[in-house]
């Protein structure tokens, strides 16, 4: 036992919480098959720790201590609450196994991967996969998640409760899918992590306080997946993609807070160690020889990063990568990206032709389409059409700095 300094105890509890919350939840939930009950038991254990550790000192194995308290709570809850009789054997299994693990003083197994697959299970509502992951694996509270997804905290709380009830009542399997199913099942896991990253990316440098970004959390989850599944190149592709985007975050705003497009960003303000890590990660992924959506997106970002070394952007290469991306993962975003690259490589006319070929329904409310269209029309002197497109792009922008940037370009013609 360490000496009982209350400050140290709080710090130790906090550190244990961050490092092991997801591991403890995964371990308890896998055996009880009940995520909500596992979380409740664990939060009771943390409360108990905050009371006991300042008094008695921090235990040598804080995780084992928390696990022991949590499993006891889980059993109490099983005894008192209206848990169906069939759950009791499962609860006893938790107790026995946790006792065994504690007795052997072994680290308990890391089962967060199974938990990630449960969170992104196809039977779970797509919109709830990311919030569920953030809560169960990272321990984020509903209010913080609600802020990132711009919904009221109470609403997010209810939705999380509902989805955990479904996991328990529908009997979703707590297992890593077998290799045959793994690639298909991994995709929604990666999508959910990327959605968490996106929620943070929109909010550059906390432009809006209520949209507290989750980029750090998403990257943390990305690292976790690459560590737990080292042979899945798409996981590495996603991590590389997020690192590339994150590395450029400081350069997306000038000193006055104005929006700076990628092609104008000062490369000295990019986070180069992070770019190096992204490049290494993508290289490892490429060795597998199994290209996928996230690897291609990361490769596009990697090509943009080359400007920092060579001073120029290879737009032909980027256009080619987008072509591949549109083929395997056709999204509006990818098609607009391809059009932008074509415009840079072969002139505004080529870009406009690509934009014209897109289905009207898909682009009606898609801001990047109208921003690019306005820019290209202005370049070739179709002023009236450009003005209309700028107005549309400004009307669809969520970000004040982007609105100001577009209005400035519109005025400068």
């Amino acid at each position: 036992m360490n000496t009982g300094d209350p400050h140290d105890a709080h710090r130790a509890a906090e550190l244990a919480a961050r490092a092991s919350y997801g591991r403890l939840v995964a371990y308890l939930a896998r055996r009880s098959r009940d995520v909500a009950a596992a979380e409740d038991a664990l939060s009771d254990a943390f409360v108990a720790a905050l009371a006991a550790w300042p008094r008695d000192g921090v235990p040598d194995k804080p995780e084992a201590w928390l696990l022991a308290v949590a499993r006891r709570r889980l059993l109490d809850a099983g005894r008192h609450a209206t848990v169906a009789a069939r759950a009791l054997p499962a609860l006893h299994a938790v107790i026995d196994e946790a006792d065994g693990a504690a007795a052997r003083e072994l680290a308990f197994p890391d089962e967060r991967l199974a938990l990630l697959f449960v969170c992104a299970h196809p039977a779970i509502d797509e919109g709830m996969r990311t919030p569920l992951m953030l809560q169960t694996v990272l321990g984020l509270d509903a209010a913080r998640i609600a802020a990132a997804f711009v919904v009221p905290a109470a609403t997010m709380g209810q939705r999380l409760v509902r989805v955990k009830t479904k996991i328990r009542d529908a009997g979703i399997r707590f297992e890593v899918p077998d290799p045959r199913e793994l690639p298909a099942r991994l995709e929604p896991v990666l999508e959910a992590i990327y959605a968490a990253y996106g929620s943070g990316w929109e909010d550059v440098a906390g432009a809006e306080a209520r949209r507290a970004g989750l980029a750090d959390e998403a990257i943390w989850l990305g690292r976790l997946v690459t560590r737990l599944l080292p042979n899945e190149p798409e996981g590495q592709g996603l991590l590389a993609l997020m690192l590339h985007c994150e590395a450029r975050r400081p350069a997306r705003r000038d000193v006055t807070g104005g929006y700076v497009p990628l092609s104008r960003q000062a490369v000295a303000r990019w986070n180069w160690p992070m770019i190096e890590e992204a490049e290494r990660t993508l290289l490892v992924a490429a060795h597998a020889g199994l290209p996928g959506r996230f690897q291609l997106e990361a490769a596009i970002q990697s090509a943009h990063a080359q400007r920092g070394r060579t001073g120029r952007t290879d737009w032909d290469a980027i256009a080619l990568l987008y072509e591949g991306l549109v083929r395997i993962a056709p999204t509006v975003g990818a098609s607009v990206g391809q059009a932008a690259a074509l415009a840079e490589a072969r002139g505004a006319g080529a870009g406009l032709a690509a934009l014209d070929a897109m289905p009207p329904a898909a682009i009606a409310s898609y801001q990047p389409y109208w921003a690019l269209r306005a820019h290209l029309l202005a370049m070739i002197g179709r002023a009236d059409e450009a003005a209309r497109a700028y107005t549309r792009a400004i009307g669809l922008s969520e970000d004040e700095a982007v609105r100001t940037f577009l209005a400035g370009k519109e005025g400068a013609r």
Binding site: A84, A85, R86, A123, D169, G171, I172, R173
Partner: protein, 116 residues
């Protein structure tokens, strides 16, 4: 865990039951599916249902019985039968549900049974 596999069939499926050219394939597929469930030892029960127009819907309102010809709701797919299975988890139940012939033509819903 016990699950019910609800088999929703479209109009073509229902007509396949009696159509001279298609009925053999239809019944053959369901016989094979049912047999597979039995061989795996997961089948608890189930029944095929007569087509929706044979159904009669009843409601008791204000002490009066309201009887209506036909199924409860007019939808493109209608309940054509159900299977009760006993498997370890939802994922295994979904594996079985996706093998049901109606999964390729209509829709198949999987619901855990209430524990009573």
């Amino acid at each position: 865990m016990k699950y019910t596999i609800l088999v929703y069939e479209n109009a073509t499926d229902f007509s396949s039951r009696t159509d001279e050219r298609r009925k053999e394939a239809y019944w053959g597929a369901y016989r094979a599916y049912t047999q597979a469930l039995q061989t795996a030892g997961v089948m608890v029960g189930g029944a095929g249902l007569q087509p929706p127009p044979v159904g009669t819907t009843v409601r008791q309102r204000d002490g009066k019985r309201q009887v209506q010809d036909g199924p409860y709701a007019e939808t493109k797919e209608q309940l054509g039968g159900f299977y009760q299975i006993d498997v370890p988890d939802l994922d295994t139940a979904l594996d079985w549900a996706s093998r049901c012939p109606a999964a390729s033509t209509g829709a198949v819903e999987v619901r855990p049974n209430l524990v009573m």
